[in-house]
């Protein structure tokens, strides 16, 4: 396979390491030097050619090739088996409704939250359990980081360049999780988002940092979910009132109570949709009286519809915790789900003799 990228000769791997840092081509952490061999291995595993166009970032009219994504994936620590997920995540991010330029340039400072659904999780050894939002396994760690390095290098989303985040949050280093599908009777997030049953899929959401909640004092579904809804209301009042795709991560201790009571993901979403509402007048409690402007009775909902809530089953077995993952900017950037490796009109390559 022929690659088109410029190459550089460095005397040692540690000098290669410093070369990338000195050019501003990293997130500050060590990278794996991207050799042709490693990059080609990624491309071959994913059955794509180097020049395959994965998409175009529309604002800056930047065409994004499989080759550049593979170089950044190798740098992030990806093995070839991780690369199809990186490709799928970028395919999703390049859908217009994701609004990639806005999400990555904004002072709002979001990260790209990535959820893996279906068999690919097991194939990659991704864990949906303990420490699922803080680095639970190699696969989710490197996939999340591959997205960040690709943004930095391909789209110049470095702090002070395109990235103008006032604060940002640590999910920018890596913000990828797998659902704990073995620990739940619920449908997968991919299925809930319209993918075929049992297909592997990846969902991307431009998102803030997780806001953790705790309720260890009830087994009643409504009461458990009231804590999640309260946290969404807090985000609406203190951060941004606009409706959008929220994600909620429900670990096993809470989930067991919900499932035992017969609640589905859709039931959860319906309940939250009803409860995550605030009136504009409540801005007076949070320092924002200046913008009520006589319209205090207007009610706002965190979700335009129940389907806008991404309900995620993940987390360790013990602890009455959960998390809200807020959207970057209301409905202007949408969660996007795409299947992984579901190539319906292509054939596998001929096996070489």
């Amino acid at each position: 396979m022929q690659l088109r990228s410029r190459s550089f000769e460095l005397p040692t791997t540690s000098e290669a390491q410093e070369f990338y840092h000195s050019r501003g081509w990293t997130d500050g952490l060590p990278v794996v030097p991207p050799t042709s061999e490693a990059v080609i291995a990624c491309l071959e595993w994913a059955l794509v050619t180097a020049d395959q166009l994965i998409g175009v970032e529309p604002v800056r009219e930047c065409a994004i090739s499989a080759e550049k994504l593979a170089i950044n994936a190798v740098m992030a620590g990806c093995l070839p088996m991780h690369f199809p997920v990186v490709l799928a995540a970028w395919t999703a991010m390049l859908q217009p409704e994701f609004l990639l330029h806005g999400a990555t340039a904004s002072t709002g400072g979001c990260g790209i939250f990535i959820v893996l659904s279906g068999p690919v999780r097991k194939e990659l050894g991704a864990s949906g359990e303990i420490n699922v939002l803080g680095g639970s396994d190699r696969a989710t760690s490197v996939i999340g980081r591959a997205i960040r390095l690709g943004l930095i290098n391909i789209l110049n989303v470095s702090p002070g360049a395109i990235d103008r985040s006032t604060l940002g949050h640590p999910g920018k280093f890596s913000y990828c999780l797998a659902e704990d599908e073995e620990g739940t009777g619920w449908e997968t997030l991919g299925e809930a988002q319209g993918m075929p049953d049992q297909a592997s899929a990846v969902t991307v959401l431009a998102a803030g940092a997780p806001r953790q909640i705790m309720n260890e004092w009830t087994t009643v579904p409504e009461e458990i979910l009231d804590t999640y809804a309260a946290e969404m209301r807090a985000n609406m009042l203190n951060y941004s009132i606009w409706a959008g795709n929220y994600a909620i991560v429900i670990p096993k201790q809470h989930r067991d109570h919900l499932e035992a009571a017969g609640w589905s993901k859709a039931d959860v979403a319906n309940y939250i949709h009803d409860k995550a509402r605030v009136k504009r007048a409540a801005w007076s409690d949070v320092g924002k009286s200046a913008v009520i402007r006589g319209k205090g009775e207007i009610q706002y909902s965190a979700l335009s519809s129940p389907e806008d809530l991404l309900v995620i089953a993940a987390g360790g077995p013990a602890g009455g915790f959960g998390a809200i993952i807020p959207p970057w900017l209301g409905t202007k950037s949408r969660a996007v789900t795409v299947p992984i490796g579901a190539c319906l009109d292509c054939e596998p390559p001929a096996i070489r003799p």
Binding site: S5, W25, T35
Partner: protein, 93 residues
């Protein structure tokens, strides 16, 4: 041991584009203003519109507002640009 490594950045140059010819004068022209839609642009563009009329004798100032301040302008606005002699855009907060 020497190692050969690859450039992770975008090397392709964007399609060539050339700047339009500069206007000799604003007198009698039509000028478009494209707001990104943020609240702070309202006062700024209102003032700019007045200046263009009063100080530079611009014939017409057309104000358009993007629907989404983080996305490119809608096609309808882009199409309209050809009717203007010059356009002012940028970010506003």
């Amino acid at each position: 041991m020497p190692v050969s490594v690859l450039d992770p950045t975008t090397e392709a140059v964007n399609l060539a584009a050339t700047s339009a010819a500069r206007l000799g004068s604003l007198q009698g022209t039509t000028i478009g203003l494209i707001s990104n839609g943020k609240e702070g642009t309202q006062g700024f563009f209102t003032h700019l519109k007045r200046l263009l009329h009063d100080r530079y004798n611009v014939a017409e100032v057309v104000l358009r507002t993007k629907h989404n301040y983080s996305a490119p302008a809608e096609a309808a606005i882009i199409d309209e640009i050809q009717n203007w002699h010059a356009v002012v855009t940028g970010i506003g907060d």
